[in-house]
Symmetry: C2
Subunit: 574 residues, 2 copies
C-alpha cells in the first residue's frame, strides 16, 4: 500500500489516517442529503424500541430501570463516532445483562447498595479491556469462540433469561438463582402463589407482541396503509404494549387492588458524569466477568455488524470495532450506566428502517435523552410483567435449533461442542458454561488433528499425480508404497502416523521403498521431526528406504536450515 | 488382516491372539538356548544396579529403604509377563519418586504413619489407570505430551531431585519443601551446619561413581581385562561404592563419632501380600497425582522401550505396554511397594549387558528377593549420603540442554514450550508445572494453526500446477487471483483467511475471479463453512466470482452431503 507521494497526497493520506481512527469522518464529511430521511426514520424507530428494551434489560441485570436509559445515550454517541459499523444499534442487550446479573450476583446480593457501583465498575473494566484489545490489535482472540459455542451459549442463555422472567410474568416473589434447574424447581414449587392479574397482563402483552411481530404488518398492508407507516407501527409494538398496560394499571389502580408490581418512580433528568469508585479487590473479582462480557459482547456485535455491512459493501474493522465498543462502555461507566454492546435484533431493525449513517444512532441517543428529561413520570404505572413479556418475546428469537440441526448433519464434532456448551451453560452457569464450551471445541479440534486422514495412494496413469487407491483407479508397484498424510505433523499426531507406517510395512513384507507425500504438511514440529528420523533409521535397518516428496517451500526451508536435508539424504527428499 | 482360514490356522490364530495379550509366550515358547547367557549376565547386572537405586529412590519418595526393594520383585515379574518390551527394566525411578513425594507430601507430612499406605494406594490408582487406559486403547493420550514438554519437565525434575539430595549429601537437616527456590534458599541459609564428614563421604562417592561411569572401563581395558569382566565391574560402580562406604562407616563407627546418618535396620524377609486400605476421599485426593504419574511414567517408559526395540526390529504395542505397566503397579500396590515404571538408564544397561528376553528381569527379581531375605543386615551402616550421591550422579545424566538448543534452532515455538515447562516445574512445582507445559504446547499449536500460511500463487507455465508468486516465476492474469491456504479451515483461523481475501480484493480492484486452492485443506468445520458462504455472497455483490479448486475427496464428500456444492454452484467448485 505504499504509493508515490504526490502534491496534496499527504493531506489526503492524513485524512485517510484520521478517518481510520475516527470512522465517522467518512460519513460526516461527505454526508449526502438523501441519506437524511432514512437516518431520521431509523433513529426514531430505534428509540421507540430502545426505551422499553433498555429499561427491561436493566431490570434483568438487577438494576433500576433508569440505568438502562442512562446506558443508551453517551454509549450510542461514542460508538457512532468511533465504531466502523454505520447501522449497529449499541446499548443494553439481553445476554450481556444476564452475564452482569450472574457476575455481580456472585459478589453481592441484589439489594446491596454497592450493586449499581459494581455495574459501573464492570462497564469500566469492559471498556478498558475492549479498548486495550483493540489498540493491541488483539481482536483475533474472539476467533477462538467458534460459531458452535456461541450458538449453544446464546440458546441456553435465552432459556435462562426466559425462565428468569417467568417469575415476573407470573408475579412470583422468588429468590434469584443462577442455575436453570434450581429456577425451574422454584417456579414449579411456588406455582400456586401466582398473581393471576399480573399473569393475565403479562400473557396479554406477550400475545400482542407476538401478533405485532408476526401478523400486524400483513394486516395493516391488507388495509392499505402506506408502507412507511407500517414499519413504525409494527416496530412500535413494545412501546404500544407499554403504553396500553400502563394505562390499564393506572386506570384500574391494579397496583393497589391486585398487587400488580409496577416500576414506580423513575428519576427524571440526564445522568450526571460520575467516576465509579473501586479498589483493586473489586477489580480482580470482576475481571473474569468483564473478560467474558468483553469477548461475548464483541463476538455478537461484530457478527451482526459484518453481516449488515456486507449487504452494502461497507467494511468492518475488528480492532476498530473493539475500540468503538470499548469507548461505548467507558461512556456507560462514566454516566451511571452498565455494560453495553451491539444488539442483534435492534441493529437489524435500525438497518431495515433505513439507517444510512451513524446519524441515526445520534438521533436515537437524543430521543432517549428527551425521554429521560420529560417522560419518566409516565412510566410510574408501567407493570413489570409487561417488561418481562418484552424480554421473553425478544429472547425467544435467540433460541436456535436450526444451527444445531445443520451442524449435526455436517459435522458431529461441531454439533457436539454446541450441545456441550448449551448443557454446560444450563447446568453449571453462564460463565463456566462458556469456558467449558471453548475448551471442548479446542479439544475436539486437537482430537481431530491428532488422528489425521492417511491414504495409500497410487499414480494416475503416467502423470505426476497421486490419488487414494481406495477412491481412484491408479497404478501401484509391488516394492513401492506411497502414502499421503493430510495434516501437519506435530506432537499429538506423529505417533499415529508412525503406527500407520509401521503397520503398513509389516503388512507388506515386499515393500522396499516407502514414499511419504508431504503436500498437505504445512509444518513439522520438533517432536515429529524426531519421530521421522527415528523411523527412517529403523526402516533403514529393515531394508526399507524412506523418501519424503512434495515437501512445501516453507517446510523445506526450515529443514534445510538445521541440516535435516543433508542428514536425510538430499536424493530422498523433494 | 483377514486371511482365508485353512486347516490348523485357527489354532495358530488362537496362539497369535493369546500372545498378543500375554507377550511373554512369544519368547518363552520359543526360548533359544543361546539367549540364556546374555539374559543371566544382564539379570545379575541389573540387580546389582537396582539394589542401591531402588533403596535410594524409596528414600527420595519419602519412604523406608526396603519399600524400594519390595517394589522391585513382583512388578518386574508382572511386567516381564505382560509387557511388550523384552529389555525394559521396570522398578523405582527418580522422576516418579519425585512426583510421589510431592503428591503425597501435599496431603500428609513425611512422618505421618499413613504416608506408606498412601504410597501403596497411589500405586493401586496408577495401576488401575494404566490398565484401564490400555484396555480402552487410550494410549494415544500420552501423545499430547510433546517431546519439548517432556524434555523440559525431566531437566527441571533432575535439578529439583539433585538439589533435594544435596542436603543428604551434606548431612543437613532441612524441612522438606517442593519449591526449587525455597530449597535453594534453605540450603544456602543452613550451609554452616554442614556435616563435613558426611559431605566428604558423599563427595567421594560421587567422585568414584563419575570415575566409574566415564573412565573405569577404559582403564580396565588398558590393563587387558576381558570385556565380559569389565561391564559388570563398571556397572557395579554403585554397588562397590555402597559396599565401600558401608565398610568405612562401620569400621570407623562414623555414625557415632561424626553423626553420619545411616540407613539403619532394614527389615529382612519378603513383603507380604497386603491390600492397601483407603476411602473415597483419599482416592480423589490422590487422583491428580496418579494421573500425572500414569502418563509421565508411561511416556518415559515407552520412549526407551521403543528405541531399544527398534534396534532389534521388535515391536512395542502402546496399549499393551500400558497393561504391562499397570499390572506392575498393581503388583507394587499389593506387596507394600510404590509406583514404578520403566527406567531409562537401567533399561539401557540391561540391553547393553545382553538381555534378550524377559527372563533377564525374572532373574533380577529373584536376586532382589534373595537380597531381601539374606542381605538386609549388611545395609545397616550404609550412609545416606552415599545413596544421595548415587541419585545425584544418576539424575545429572537427565539434564538435557542439547534438545533445547536443537529446538531453538529449528522451531522457536517448541523451544518456548520446553522453556516454559522447565521454568514452571522449577517455579510452581512438578505437577502444576507439567500441566502448564502441556497447556502451553497446545495453545502454541492452536496459535500456529490460527494464522495459517496463505500464498498468492501463479500458474507454472501451461501446467496445472500453481506455485507461490513470491518464490517462483509463474504466470498471473490481471482479472484472476489465485490463493492457496496451507491449513485446514476451522473456527480459529477462518476469520484470518477472510481478512486476507478481503484485503487482497480491496488492493486489486481489477480482480473479477478469486480462486481458492484447497489442496492443503483437510477439513472445513461448520464455522468456516459459514464464513465461506458469507464471503461468497459478499464477493458476488461486489462483482467477484469465488471458486474453490482442488478440494480433497473426503472434504468434497461432506460438502456434497449437505448440499453445499449445489448452493455454491457445481461449476465453481472442483
Amino acid at each position: 500500500m505504499t504509493t508515490r507521494p504526490e502534491r496534496g497526497s499527504e493531506l489526503k493520506s492524513f485524512g485517510f489516517q484520521l478517518s481510520r481512527y475516527f470512522p465517522f469522518l467518512d460519513w460526516l464529511l461527505h454526508y449526502r442529503s438523501q441519506d437524511l430521511s432514512g437516518d431520521m426514520t431509523a433513529g426514531v424507530i430505534a428509540a421507540i424500541l430502545l426505551v422499553p428494551q433498555s429499561m427491561a434489560y436493566a431490570l434483568l441485570a438487577g438494576l433500576p430501570a433508569q440505568v438502562g436509559l442512562y446506558a443508551s445515550i453517551l454509549p450510542l454517541i461514542l460508538y457512532a463516532l468511533l465504531g466502523t459499523s454505520r447501522v449497529l444499534s449499541v446499548g443494553p442487550v439481553a445476554i450481556v445483562s444476564l452475564l452482569i446479573a450472574t457476575g455481580i450476583g456472585k459478589l453481592v446480593p441484589l439489594t446491596d447498595p454497592a450493586y449499581l457501583m459494581l455495574a459501573m465498575v464492570l462497564a469500566l473494566l469492559v471498556g478498558l479491556l475492549q479498548m486495550g484489545m483493540g489498540l493491541a490489535r488483539f481482536g483475533f482472540v474472539a476467533n477462538f469462540l467458534s460459531h458452535a459455542v456461541v450458538s449453544g451459549f446464546i440458546s441456553a442463555s435465552a432459556l435462562i433469561i426466559g425462565l428468569g422472567q417467568l417469575k415476573h410474568l407470573m408475579g412470583l416473589k422468588l429468590p434469584s438463582t443462577e442455575s436453570f434447574v434450581a429456577l425451574l424447581g422454584a417456579i414449579t414449587h411456588h406455582l400456586p402463589e401466582t398473581n393471576w392479574v399480573t399473569f393475565a397482563i403479562g400473557l396479554g402483552s406477550m400475545g400482542f407482541l407476538i401478533y405485532a411481530q408476526q401478523f400486524l404488518g400483513k394486516v395493516l398492508k391488507r388495509y392499505g396503509l402506506p408502507a412507511n407507516w407500517i414499519v413504525p407501527i409494527v416496530r412500535g409494538g413494545p412501546l404500544l404494549v407499554v403504553i396500553g398496560c400502563t394505562l390499564l394499571v393506572w386506570g384500574l389502580r391494579l397496583d393497589q387492588i391486585a398487587q400488580v408490581k409496577i416500576i414506580g418512580a423513575v428519576p427524571a433528568g440526564l445522568p450526571s458524569l460520575t467516576l465509579p469508585g473501586f479498589d483493586t479487590k473489586i477489580l480482580s473479582d470482576l475481571l473474569p466477568t468483564a473478560l467474558i462480557i468483553s469477548l461475548v459482547g464483541f463476538v455478537e456485535s461484530i457478527a451482526v455488524a459484518k453481516s449488515l455491512a456486507s449487504k452494502r459493501r461497507q467494511k468492518i474493522d475488528a480492532n476498530q470495532e473493539l475500540i468503538g465498543l470499548g469507548a461505548a462502555n467507558l461512556g456507560a461507566a462514566f454516566t451511571g450506566g452498565f455494560p453495553v454492546t451491539g444488539g442483534v435484533s435492534r441493529s437489524v431493525v435500525n438497518f431495515a428502517a433505513g439507517a444510512n449513517t451513524g446519524l441515526a444512532s445520534l438521533i436515537t441517543a437524543f430521543l432517549i435523552a428527551l425521554t429521560l428529561i420529560f417522560l419518566t413520570p409516565l412510566f410510574y404505572f408501567l407493570p413489570q410483567t409487561t417488561l418481562a413479556a418484552t424480554i421473553i418475546v425478544a429472547v425467544m428469537g435467540l433460541l436456535d435449533v436450526k444451527t444445531f440441526q445443520q451442524m449435526w448433519h455436517y459435522d458431529k464434532a461441531d454439533a457436539f461442542s454446541l450441545l456441550v456448551t448449551f448443557l454446560a451453560v444450563l447446568g453449571i452457569g453462564v460463565e463456566m458454561g462458556i469456558i467449558v464450551g471453548v475448551m471442548t471445541s479446542l479439544l475436539l479440534y486437537l482430537w481431530r488433528t491428532s488422528r489425521p486422514h492417511i491414504a495409500v495412494v497410487g499414480r494416475v496413469g503416467d502423470t505426476e499425480q497421486f490419488r487414494n487407491v481406495l477412491r481412484h483407479s491408479v497404478k501401484t508397484y509391488p516394492h513401492v508404497m506411497v502414502v499421503r498424510v493430510d495434516e501437519s505433523l506435530y506432537f499429538a499426531n506423529t505417533k499415529y502416523l508412525e503406527d500407520f507406517l509401521r503397520q503398513a510395512i509389516a503388512d507388506h513384507p515386499d515393500i522396499r521403498h516407502l514414499l511419504l507425500i508431504c503436500s498437505a504438511i504445512n509444518f513439522i514440529d520438533a517432536s515429529a521431526l524426531e519421530t521421522l528420523e527415528t523411523l527412517r533409521d529403523e526402516l533403514q535397518t529393515a531394508g526399507v528406504n524412506f523418501y519424503l516428496a512434495e515437501v512445501k517451500g516453507p517446510v523445506m526451508d526450515r529443514l534445510q536450515k538445521i541440516g535435516f536435508v543433508n542428514r536425510w539424504g538430499s536424493d530422498r527428499i523433494s
